[in-house]
């Protein structure tokens, strides 16, 4: 299962987009010898993905030369390609932002006449909606252009280490690769800066005393030095507040820029620490020098020059690809997709203004092809001045709301059907933490072979960040519940997003249903030095809110202590 929430009809654009855009790279661009990409299926609204392996040795062999030539070209020119990739991504985002959806006017403006353009608001909406979808698919291409090769390189380094140093924890491997200059720490770094500045300018009280971000902002604007802080705040917002409170591929996860609750609560947290005299900076120099120590020590443990050479080569390649693997997330899922969802909302507002939808967000209950229909219905109504045409969309949305509610209350199994013989697709393993064993374990548990019911027993996942912590479980299934997390609790969640980072400064440990060693929960936990177990499959189902649990980030075991 890919995502713990049912997919809204409009949001199917995300999986459907990568169904093509991801797979084409694995099958038609550089034929990854043993893998035929990732297939998908939506069951009762929940998205399931399944990697397709090639088992015929001859077929695999035949794919090798093209893979070497094509993937080789990309690895060879990686830095240059990545630099160009950033330009393409930023340009794509610029064009996305330029797409505007304006309410249909009662009369076309005079300018339609004087400019002699010959086209109208109706045509604008048709063209812009097409451009919006096209822009989404374009970004999806960039998303997977480098991503899969990146994962391949990371997996190679990971496998080398596991072979040479049996039992080496995944988190140690990740530490050797991971840098400190990755973008998804940047928004959080901006919040630290804003907290420090608030203290310097003496506007900290306004932030600490006002939980409501709007009230805090107006209190700051009344303060003597408030203007300076507000300038810095505005500067940080673009683009760093285009940071989704979820993984980014669902419309309901709003970005910080749309909902300041999360960043402001984090700033308050940092201010409290600063007032206590604590250092809130990430120890960058230490992280880097520790990384080099680890690498050198492991290298010295290898028996031959060939091994040391191979270790360095695969490590260098892994590090070369790592910025893209991490940073694409900010460009694609956060920055681009957050804007994308807002643009869809803007179009929803056009429907709302014309009375075709009750609320702008209702547009997400329509599939993107239905939006084409609905749009044309509306334009027909507008053009013929007969708004009654196609008025059934509102009723349709009401029915779908009820269906989605039902689907939401269903507990979907983490895996379906017969497990694949081998999971060969790099991203499936590295990112989602799904291995053949894991799938079998999940299937076993749901078949009733697992002995532990809700609120009892042990859960197994990936040991993602070392250490052991005990505390009360706070089971959070969606981002709007984040505020419930108290200091010293253990966060139990389906999946985390980078924007949840501030909450990690409060918790003692983390458990996620989905995620591999390169998942956000894993990386952030390591950053904050918190024990974490990711990819447990059932954490949010098995652990009850408020139960005492032990998270063992060394062994990957979560134990429910209350029975």
């Amino acid at each position: 299962m890919h995502n713990p929430e049912p997919v809204y009809p409009f949001d199917t654009i995300m999986p459907e987009s990568w169904w093509v855009m991801l797979n084409q790279f694995l099958t038609r661009v550089w034929p990854v010898p043993p893998a035929l990409g990732i297939d998908q299926r939506i069951v009762n609204g929940y998205l399931y993905v399944s990697p397709t392996a090639i088992t015929d040795e001859a077929v695999i062999e035949a794919r090798v030369p093209q893979f070497l030539e094509r993937a080789g070209y990309y690895y060879e020119n990686w830095d240059e390609i990545y630099e160009h990739w950033i330009e393409k991504a930023e340009d794509c985002i610029r064009r996305l932002r330029a797409i505007e959806f304006d309410p249909l006017p009662e009369m076309e403006p005079m300018e339609t006449v004087t400019s002699r353009r010959g086209t109208t608001s109706a045509w604008d909406l048709i063209a812009r909606y097409d451009r919006l979808l096209e822009n989404m698919h374009e970004m999806a291409c960039y998303h997977f252009e480098l991503h899969m090769l990146g994962y391949g390189a990371l997996m190679t380094f990971s496998d080398f280490c596991k072979n040479a140093f049996p039992g080496i924890p995944d988190q140690t491997i990740a530490k050797m690769v991971g840098g400190v200059d990755i973008l998804f720490f940047r928004p959080d770094d901006e919040l630290r800066k804003l907290a420090r500045l608030a203290l310097e300018l003496g506007v900290d009280d306004a932030l600490v005393d006002n939980e409501d971000p709007q009230r805090a902002l107006s209190a700051i604007s009344d303060a003597p030095n408030g203007e300076q802080w507000l300038d810095a705040f505005e500067g940080a917002k673009e683009p760093w507040f285009w940071f989704s409170t979820g993984p980014g591929y669902c419309h309901q996860h709003r970005a910080w820029i749309d909902d300041l609750t999360v960043p402001f609560s984090a700033i308050r947290g940092y201010l409290e620490k600063l007032r206590e005299g604590a250092n809130i900076d990430r120890p960058l120099a230490e992280i880097l020098s520790e990384r080099e120590r680890i690498v050198n020590e492991y290298s010295e443990l290898l028996p031959t020059d060939n091994d040391r050479d191979a270790f360095r080569q695969v490590l260098d390649l892994a590090r070369k690809v790592y910025p893209l693997v991490e940073n694409h997330n900010f460009y694609v899922e956060h920055w681009h997709h957050s804007i994308f969802w807002n643009k869809v909302r803007d179009l929803g507002a056009v429907f709302e203004a014309f009375g075709y939808l009750t609320d702008s967000d209702d547009i997400f209950f329509l599939h993107r092809y239905e939006v084409h229909q609905a749009l044309y219905d509306m334009l027909t109504g507008w053009a013929t001045t007969n708004p009654a045409r196609g008025g059934h969309w509102r009723e349709e949305v009401e029915v779908r709301k009820q269906i989605l509610d039902k689907l939401r209350s269903w507990a979907p199994p983490p895996a379906l059907g017969k497990p694949p013989e081998a999971v060969t697709e790099a991203a499936t393993v590295m990112l989602w933490g799904i291995t053949t064993d894991m799938v079998e374990q999940w299937l076993g548990a749901q078949d009733g072979h697992g002995e532990d019911g809700p609120g009892r027993g042990e859960l197994h996942g990936f040991a993602a960040s070392p250490g052991v912590a005990e505390g009360l479980a706070r089971v959070i299934t969606s981002v709007d519940q984040l505020a419930r997390v108290r200091s010293g609790e253990i966060l139990v969640c389906p999946i985390t997003a980078p924007s949840w980072a501030p909450v990690f400064s409060r918790i003692q440990g983390a458990v996620s249903d989905i995620g591999g060693i390169m998942s956000h929960a894993a990386i952030i936990s390591r950053e904050y030095g918190l024990p974490a177990v990711v990819g447990t499959g059932f954490g949010t189902k098995r652990i009850l809110d408020g139960q005492r649990v032990r998270v063992d980030g060394n062994s990957g075991v979560v134990t429910v202590l209350d029975t």
Partner: protein
């Protein structure tokens, strides 16, 4: 200081002192030199051993007896051994040696003057070279208290120089007993809360990125002898994190009986049996220690250690070169030199 001929403090020993103080004491001196915490003590030197053999006339009798002994005949070797050992048992240490040992022991007891318990162990030059067979015959006496008792046990160690196995060993290896003398180490006893062994590689698969620790309650002897099922820790050598831990049921422990002034075998009380005899933090501290020793010698080590019940501090009792995996050819991860791309491809194909 005249005593220097007869005894030498551990901190004055190092690898080049092996001939004078034997492998075990030389290695302890070396560990102290490397900054490690080793219980204090001194070696009764091989020179003192030679003096003893001469002053007690054992040397002369040894030459006569062994010239005619048929080494193929176990009864003959045993008879020679018994005669030589009983001579050793009856002999007194030369006054100069005895005086030096008493003085050194007095110094070990410190200002309070109370007799401290010591371990008295033979330390032979051949021990670490020849490995197994001879090393196994060396004597160890624990919890020896008082200068008289120390002298008595030094002599007992020297008796071990003439076991049938030792005689046969020297004959087979064609070494002259004058070149293979036995030093005796006198070391302050640690009242161990926990003790055990540590390998600076994984003895299961030879993986050098791990430190494997076995630990039990009390002194380490029952663990070495296989009388208890120890707790086992696998620590990552680079990250210094506990990766695996299995805690076993430890039914007995060796601990000093202070009233009877000796080490006794005691039942471990119920509550402590299944408790870990080592904390994770201690396991990490030990691994750090193992790493330091391994770096010092440049070869994986097999270390005996203990945790002092009074101070809670870790001490090294002995360190030897690991002999099984260190002698094998190591399995490389890649068979031939390649490019990063070739490694990526190989990895994809392997899955």
């Amino acid at each position: 200081m005249t005593g220097a001929v007869h005894i030498r403090w551990f901190q004055e020993c190092n690898a080049s002192s092996t001939r004078e103080v034997g492998g075990k004491c030389a290695s302890l001196g070396d560990l102290i030199g490397a900054g490690l915490s080793v219980p204090p003590g001194f070696a009764v030197t091989t020179t003192a051993h030679e003096l003893f053999l001469q002053s007690s006339d054992v040397r002369g009798r040894e030459a006569e007896l062994l010239a005619s002994v048929d080494y193929e005949s176990l009864p003959q070797v045993t008879a020679a051994s018994q005669e030589l050992r009983s001579m050793v048992d009856r002999a007194e240490l030369p006054p100069s040696t005895a005086g030096a040992v008493r003085a050194a022991y007095g110094e070990l007891c410190g200002e309070e003057g109370a007799d401290v318990p010591v371990a008295v162990r033979s330390s032979a030059g051949a021990e670490d070279l020849a490995g197994a067979s001879f090393a196994g015959q060396l004597e160890t006496y624990l919890w020896v208290e008082g200068a008289d008792a120390v002298l008595e046990h030094v002599r007992r160690c020297w008796g071990g120089f003439f076991t049938p196995e030792a005689l046969t060993y020297r004959h087979r290896q064609k070494v002259d007993s004058a070149d293979e003398l036995m030093s005796v180490g006198v070391q302050r006893m640690v009242r161990a809360r926990s003790a055990g062994v540590m390998f600076t590689l994984n003895p299961v698969n030879g993986d050098r990125s791990k430190v494997v620790i076995e630990s039990t309650w009390g002194l380490g002897e029952p663990l070495v002898a296989g009388e208890v099922d120890p707790d086992r820790f696998v620590v990552d050598k680079v990250m210094l994190e506990v990766l695996e831990k299995s805690v076993s049921e430890k039914l007995i422990e060796h601990r000093p009986d202070l009233a009877r002034r000796r080490v006794v075998v005691a039942d471990v009380e119920e509550g402590r049996r299944s408790a870990a005899s080592l904390s994770d933090a201690e396991a990490v501290e030990l691994a750090r220690l193992g790493k330091t020793i391994e770096r010092h010698y440049g070869i994986p080590q097999d270390v005996e250690w203990a945790i002092d019940a009074d101070s809670g501090s870790l001490v090294v009792l002995q360190a030897r070169h690991e002999t099984v995996w260190s002698r094998r050819e190591r399995r490389p991860t890649v068979q031939k030199k390649g490019s990063a791309l070739e490694y990526v491809l190989a990895d994809l194909l392997k899955r």
